[in-house]
Subunit: 204 residues, 2 copies
């Protein structure tokens, strides 16, 4: 187990590609739709892929000049947990610029404006069955304005050093995926020892 095999040539993708044959909506919900996609597998057989369609979201890691990150404490009744998360919200409609969504949600939830937004990760939350993509931004150059939550939104704003927040990710306390990922990437970009950029960025 010492030699990397380096099997990441693009030529090998023919053997893994699935071909969509049909796609039927089987449930229309308030937030998500579900469809049943029939696909042709690489071996010629057919299989069902159950697809949850979600219009997407944006999330923001707002880091102040003194290294403090602003988080929101929420009750996630779906998983019966109180969580600490980075500010985030759903796109207003399919195709909304996720950066507009990020600016809006940051202001609504925390009252913060940011001079700079940098994309940290175009995160697919669960690409095996769900189309949701959460663009996670690092926001810097912050100034305080007024928060104004949606009618059905209740949260508390919490500030802590980014180092403490990342320590809480590493201890397994912060379990929200976008939050754990956004804080880790912000740390690697701003404070940590990030690996050097790779030489061949074309393999995915």
């Amino acid at each position: 187990m010492t030699k990397p095999t380096g099997e990441f040539t693009l030529g090998s993708d023919a053997g893994i590609r699935e071909t969509p044959l049909s796609d039927e909506v089987v449930f229309r919900g308030a937030l998500i739709d579900v469809s049943h996609m029939q696909v042709r597998l690489p071996n010629g057989r057919q299989a069902l892929r159950e697809v949850v369609r979600h219009k997407g979201a944006a999330a923001i890691v707002p880091v102040d000049q003194d290294g403090t990150v602003t988080l929101v404490r929420q009750h996630r009744v779906v998983v019966d947990r109180i969580t600490l998360e980075i500010p985030a919200g759903k796109l207003d409609h399919v195709g909304e610029d996720p950066l507009d969504c990020a600016r809006r949600e940051l202001e609504e939830e925390t009252g913060l404006h940011a001079e700079r937004f940098e994309l940290l990760c175009p995160m697919l939350t669960s690409p095996g069955f769900c189309t949701e993509q959460v663009r996670i931004y690092l926001a810097t150059g912050l100034s305080e304005h007024h928060a104004h939550l949606d009618d059905d939104e209740f949260l508390n704003v919490v500030r802590m050093p980014l180092a403490e927040a990342v320590a809480r990710v590493l201890s397994g306390e912060f379990c929200d995926g976008k939050t754990a990922l956004g804080l880790s990437l912000a740390w690697l970009k701003l404070k940590g020892t990030a690996p050097v950029a790779c030489e061949n960025p074309s393999i995915t």
Copy 2:
């Protein structure tokens, strides 16, 4: 914007808590169910929470002694992308030990056995509307055995230095959430400058 407000006392949670009133299954699928949960908001009003129920999954960051990570290249037809991901799979049933699932999926997809598994993050993929939790493990002490994929599973195994994989996360190339998070946390634990542990681990 210089003073952390430190508003993270547990006492403030009364103002954010939602109370479930009813929960009705509105769609039963092959992989997920959807239910409509009526909740009482902190302001006394009622609201609908649409819940996607998923039995959960386990994912593995297998890192060799020489710092090589083993990934799998897959076609995610749901998002129409070829992705590089850490090995992962769904729990066989609700309540399966996620570590058993991690051992099984690591062997099935890559042929690897690991002497040590360490939980990196009990990731909730999208806790606003989905119950899915992916336990992400760091696997070390690796040895090679035989991969044996499921009938409807097609993937290519890819190995690369962990540093290169994390550089690709930071460049936005690796967009699968569990993969980006697992690789970042493995880097922080094994190679990077992780922040020191916090002093008050009880606030979430």
